[in-house]
């Protein structure tokens, strides 16, 4: 917008027509009633006792922001640089001098470790292979063999499209709840969705809202109704989870640690978007299979976006050239929020920080999952 624009309305006043508008009448402000919140079963989640691994984990409020200007060269993400960033970040977070000892604060030999990536942006803007391969390499050095590592997400096809294939990750299990076979079908020979055998009906997120899905949508939702079931990979198969989101906006909010988990481990999610977007991101993380297994969050900010998320539009890509590490997903998200929304403001995509964008973090803080209060976040910045 041209800041020096002449007085817009006065210039045209002479030629304008009468308004024909009725003024809005003043009324009693008491009529402004708050919308009733949609009911969920979050109270059930809070009944389960916490343990030593429960969010926010070993280091509540601590976030390591590690930056390397050399992490991208000639438009290509540099795996060697990312490896070093990860190594520096994990040591800083744990205050260990030895990389393996740092990782062993979170994982142990014999455990099955899941890497929750975000492949929605396909080959353009998903969790980078440079980061995932660096994590795998450092896990192996810390005593976790490849056969105990699983890369997972809700959607198998997106994992494959983004390059999370057995060919690229030999020896690593690639697992999608919404499984698709080699012919591209989501249904087995009996006409049953593969995904139905991959969900755990003993664990559910209930919310008092529902939506009808057509035949095209059902394979991606798995079921309809008021129940969203947790995927078996988190309830039964994994011992620990390392959360690897990518730094993206979602409108005026972000899709980072909480969102990557909240919407990535349950079925029947579309019904939740319009009225329970922030609640779902926070509340699903409060259920024990997530709360007690996610021991580390590493937000991939080597290349992210500030608009167009969670999709991938190159015009909005930006090279943040950083990783954010923490055991506390709420603190990592709050730090990431300031960076991503700050970029949106800098680029003119929104006027200022809007409270609505922080809601998922504030709700998660209320649930004891971490710290959203910036005054209490220990943000450590390192790098070159």
């Amino acid at each position: 917008m041209d800041k020096g624009r002449r007085n817009f309305f006065r210039l045209f006043a002479a030629g304008s027509l009468g308004a024909g508008l009725s003024p809005v009448m003043a009324a009693n402000l008491a009529n402004l009633t708050a919308r009733q919140p949609t009911a969920t079963n979050i109270a059930d989640a809070l009944k389960y006792p916490r343990n030593e691994n429960s969010m926010p984990g070993r280091y509540p409020g601590r976030v390591v922001r590690i930056v390397d200007e050399n992490s991208i060269a000639e438009d290509v993400i540099q795996e060697d640089a990312v490896y070093e960033m990860l190594e520096g970040g994990i040591k800083n977070l744990t205050e260990e001098t030895d990389t393996s000892r740092a990782w062993r604060q979170f994982v142990s030999p014999g455990e099955v470790i899941g890497l929750k990536v975000n492949p929605i942006g396909g080959k353009l803007l998903s969790t980078s292979h440079a980061l995932v391969k660096s994590v795998i390499s450092q896990l192996e050095q810390s005593g976790i063999p490849k056969e105990k590592i699983v890369i997972f997400d809700r959607r198998m096809q997106q994992l494959l499209d983004a390059g999370f294939t057995p060919g690229n990750y030999p020896g690593i299990t690639i697992w999608g709840t919404e499984h698709v076979d080699e012919s591209g079908s989501y249904y087995d020979e009996k006409g049953k969705l593969y995904s139905l055998s991959r969900i755990d009906r003993d664990w559910h997120y209930w919310a008092d809202c529902e939506m009808d899905y057509d035949d095209y949508m059902l394979p991606f939702m798995v079921n309809q109704g008021k129940y969203s079931y947790f995927t078996k990979i988190v309830t039964r198969q994994l011992d620990k989870i390392i959360n690897l989101p990518i730094m993206k906006n979602a409108g005026a909010s972000i899709t980072l640690c909480l969102k990557n988990l909240g919407y990535g481990v349950i079925t029947n999610t579309s019904r939740l978007h319009s009225t329970l977007w922030a609640e779902t991101s926070a509340q699903v993380c409060a259920f024990p299979p997530v709360r007690d297994k996610v021991v580390l969050n590493i937000a991939d900010g080597i290349r992210g976006c500030y608009d167009g998320g969670p999709g991938a539009n190159p015009q909005f890509f930006t090279d943040y050239r950083m990783l954010l590490l923490g055991t506390d997903p709420v603190a990592v998200d709050t730090a990431g929020y300031d960076i991503i929304i700050g970029k949106r403001i800098e680029m003119g995509r929104q006027a200022g920080f809007a409270d609505v964008g922080l809601r998922q973090m504030l709700l998660a803080e209320e649930l004891g999952l971490g710290i959203a209060d910036r005054e209490r976040i220990d943000l450590r910045t390192a790098g070159r």
Binding site: M1, R6, R35, P314
Partner: protein, 275 residues
């Protein structure tokens, strides 16, 4: 730019309706090209491709989307052509998706070109064409491909509300945004989203300008048949509380918030016809 290129393209290329009768380009339209992937996503299937990103399209009214991955003259493109349920829906998605147009603009030309993306709307269609290199050549080819789509879909524009067709808006009309639900608001106008909480069936037209006296926001809300008339009062109260001065005519609520204050707002409301 768009029309002249479209005429040129029609002279040299043919086009056919493919991909489920979607006006996508064919190999014949792009000599020497290779379409390495072509899929159509109908109804809820868009969720399978872009997850929650699909909700914005559903909110406006989505029918189907054709996806192509194209290789042409050494450049790679990702074409997404959305068929929406109305021209208004196509324009709305377009208006909140464009930013920093180097060439074109939402309302004036109906297309928008920048380094990595070419976007346009025409009739019920919204096109997003991404190129991966950002080169000049890729951008030129993007416009060629877009012109094929524009021509094949009739190059039809949407009528803006009469209010915004006045000369006074001519210079700033490319800033206009059209929104039809809370997700669109949260994406494009997050600072106004709370005004519409709990409301349904409305169309929001928004434009912001800055003159010598500061920023002015103009917000036109058109309510539909299913808009809760009782909620209307509540909405107008929220407007007032947020510093807007508002007036109503039939199903239109026009609100103004200017840096100069309510006196100026009233002056502006007097100057603008609501029609």
């Amino acid at each position: 730019m768009r029309l002249s290129v479209a005429v040129l393209i029609l002279c040299f290329f043919s086009w056919t309706l493919t991909a489920g009768d979607m006006p996508v380009p064919t190999r014949e339209d792009m000599p020497g090209s290779d379409i390495v992937r072509e899929e159509v996503f109908v109804g809820g299937a868009l969720w399978g491709l872009i997850n929650g990103g699909a909700d914005l399209y559903y909110e406006y009214g989505f029918d189907r989307m054709a996806l192509q991955e194209i290789e042409w003259q050494g450049e790679e493109f990702r074409l997404e052509l959305y068929r929406m349920k109305s021209p208004g829906a196509a324009f709305g998605v377009f208006s909140v998706s464009v930013h920093g147009c180097e060439v074109g603009g939402p309302a004036s030309t109906g297309d928008c070109l920048n380094r990595f993306q070419y976007q346009l709307y025409s009739g019920n269609y919204y096109l997003s064409l991404i190129n991966y290199s950002g080169s000049d050549k890729a951008r030129e080819l993007s416009v060629d491909i877009g012109s094929i789509v524009a021509s094949a879909s009739g190059d039809i524009r949407v009528d803006l509300p009469g209010l915004f067709r006045q000369d006074m808006f001519k210079e700033i009309i490319d800033e206009i945004k059209m929104i039809r639900g809370i997700l669109g608001l949260q994406n494009a106008l997050p600072h106004l989203a709370s005004l519409y909480e709990g409301l349904e069936d409305y169309t929001v037209w928004y434009i912001e300008l800055e003159d010598t006296e500061g920023k002015t926001e103009i917000l036109l809300t058109e309510t539909g048949d299913y808009f809760d008339i009782n909620a209307s009062d509540r909405f107008e109260l929220r407007l007032g509380k947020a510093g807007f001065t508002a007036g109503r005519k039939n199903n239109r609520i026009l609100a103004v918030r200017s840096a100069a204050g309510r006196e100026q707002d009233n002056e502006i409301l007097r100057l603008i016809p609501a029609g």
